[in-house]
Symmetry: C3
Subunit: 272 residues, 3 copies
């Protein structure tokens, strides 16, 4: 099976047919946007971060997202518990290492999760992924820093070292298991002007993992769907601003079709 627009369209349709339950332990800035984005895409979001219930919730979900923005001691603990429960039940886990490398708490929590939980996919910008493997990249708060090195090579090194699928997103996205690399060249710069677009992207990857076992393909399809919806929304709201884009993007996540992917998705797959 080769990753292409047709395959991505089939996976999109499957998300909408299955409505997978995606359990998010995420930061309190993006909860509403994430839930609405997942609903628009066709998934079924649930948020729960109490240690007293995350194991039960993760066990009935199709996928689990651990997002370390606005962490605290209580939720960090809940993430590890939920991750272990997902592992016991064979449920894929996505880690979004928001601002890893910026504070010790975030770096240590990301490391702890990677040590105690079998993470399926890590989705972050170049600075965040670099920090996970002890490399440095320019970083400024939670914004995507432009890495000075080669982003594709960074992704491959991280995938091998962390034994997980890595999705480094930026102007071009690279998804790799350390052997194969898929690049996705969709999206629009206005995504960087709306908070939580990276977080929702991680949750969208989780929705695709819930319905497709080939994780490299699932993650790549999610990125292409997301980027295509963003391009359509950006075209619809050209010149208006990020408020209008945010709303139209939710619209487009619900209306983007396999046909739109056939016309716009730009995948490239190659060796290393």
């Amino acid at each position: 099976m080769k990753m292409n627009a047709v395959e991505a369209g089939l996976l999109l349709n499957k998300v909408r047919e299955v409505n997978p339950l995606v359990h998010n332990i995420t930061n309190y800035v993006v909860t509403n946007f994430t839930a609405n984005g997942l609903l628009a895409l066709g998934a079924s979001p649930v948020m729960a971060d109490s240690r007293a219930e995350v194991e039960e919730m993760a066990a009935i979900a199709g996928a689990l997202v651990l997002n370390i923005g606005t962490l605290n001691e209580r939720t960090a603990e809940a993430m590890v518990l939920a991750g272990k429960a997902a592992n016991r039940n064979g449920i894929p886990v996505v880690l979004d290492p928001v601002a890893a490398g910026v504070t010790k708490l975030r770096s240590l929590t990301a490391q702890r999760i990677l040590k105690e939980v079998n993470v399926s996919v890590i989705r972050g910008n170049a600075a965040e992924i670099a920090s996970l493997i002890g490399e440095s990249a320019e970083s400024k708060g939670v914004d995507a820093g432009a890495s000075k090195g080669n982003v594709k090579d960074l992704a491959v090194r991280a995938a091998r070292k962390l034994d997980a699928i890595i999705a480094v997103t930026g102007a071009t996205d690279y998804i790799t298991d350390g052997r194969e690399v898929v690049s996705v060249d969709n999206g629009d710069p206005i995504l960087t002007k709306v908070t939580g677009t990276g977080c929702l992207l991680s949750s969208s990857v989780a929705a695709f993992l819930a319905i497709e076992k080939n994780m490299l393909h699932a993650a790549s399809a999610a990125l292409a769907v997301y980027g295509t919806a963003a391009e359509l929304a950006a075209a619809d709201t050209l010149g208006k601003g990020p408020g209008s884009f945010q709303i139209e993007f939710i619209n487009r996540l619900s209306t983007v079709t396999a046909q739109d992917l056939a016309e716009r998705a730009r995948f490239e797959k190659g060796g290393l």
Copy 2:
């Protein structure tokens, strides 16, 4: 007094005149949407969930909402404290048992609130209400499950067993005190594609309870106003998607009139 569109319109106007303060202890997914929805409707929202202040806040509110989505130990405790303070001050309490039955924490917390607090109205979907009285209904995460049994009968059984007004919402809503049943047949399926529409509905019921002592009428009017605004917003944004609907729904909550209710509200009231 018979519940009808004219009565609902009068209550809507009274909400806008009185601007009742509604104290919400709610989940962190829906806070912004709930506050903006209450403002649009004409109420005055306040959010506070610290044990150190909820009693004071509940005591000055016109109504209190306890919503168990994204619970934790701290906020569960705060809900009980706030509920008791509301009871001491004669302030109506709405319980939204989000995903009761899905995890033990949610079921036990809902049961604890029902035991320690005199709850005026419980607003939930069929699965949630069924779980509160030990019955089962199909449930999947926090989505509204379609109950296999007769929803109206479920509502009556729950009202009698829990000694509260029950509002079971779905394609048709049933509101009952265990003796009389009002059905409301407004709304639009796109409401299920926007997160927090159930939560905001519970808070809207609270706004009406704050200004009308006949709780069956207050709750029924709130549901009809909400469903009518949703119908108007769905018509305005037909074919666009849930992003546009969410925004237009807030608009319509602020502009829906007694005249709109006269044209669209579909109440039915009968015996058992």
Copy 3:
């Protein structure tokens, strides 16, 4: 240097050029709106409220915002830690005393912050500012109460007593260091129908403090930019409702220009 529309336009352009990192410890109702508003304005928002990371985050920020809505014991402690770290690093601190005077927790926390942290600017409505200096003003929940006294005089008394810049916002805003007073007469009443517009205003003031040392000018410029964007958004969405306004306001924060300020900003500066 005299505060006027030209000056405000220069500061707006500087915010967009510098993209200052603004660290917000704020209430969970407004996080998404605040982050999107700051991004639209040209700043770079970060949210972090764990005691384990706020000192590091505040130390790398251009400004810190402490907003006491939806406080709890954990976040109150984090605010003090972050505030002290900001002070040690010479980083300006904005306090938004949401609903100070309404509950003991809020009043005591505001007092504690003012005692332990050197606060640069306090932005609130008349009731909140009055409560900080032991005066009373009409207050109802978190809504802006209309003060019976003279708001300008209140601002001056508070500035002298609290040794901080005070920005009392309402129909007309007054900004003062206790010696000079700038009034800003921009904005639109629909701002009171969208939750978090006061909170985002405080965070916008922080963005301007991060790029301009004359704090009276920075705060005044932020208020004029904010009010001008609101006027443009209100005109664009006339008759639609608060949902549309909220979105268009975010758009306008990103597109408002120095030229718009030249046409609309209404400053007045005078002695006491």
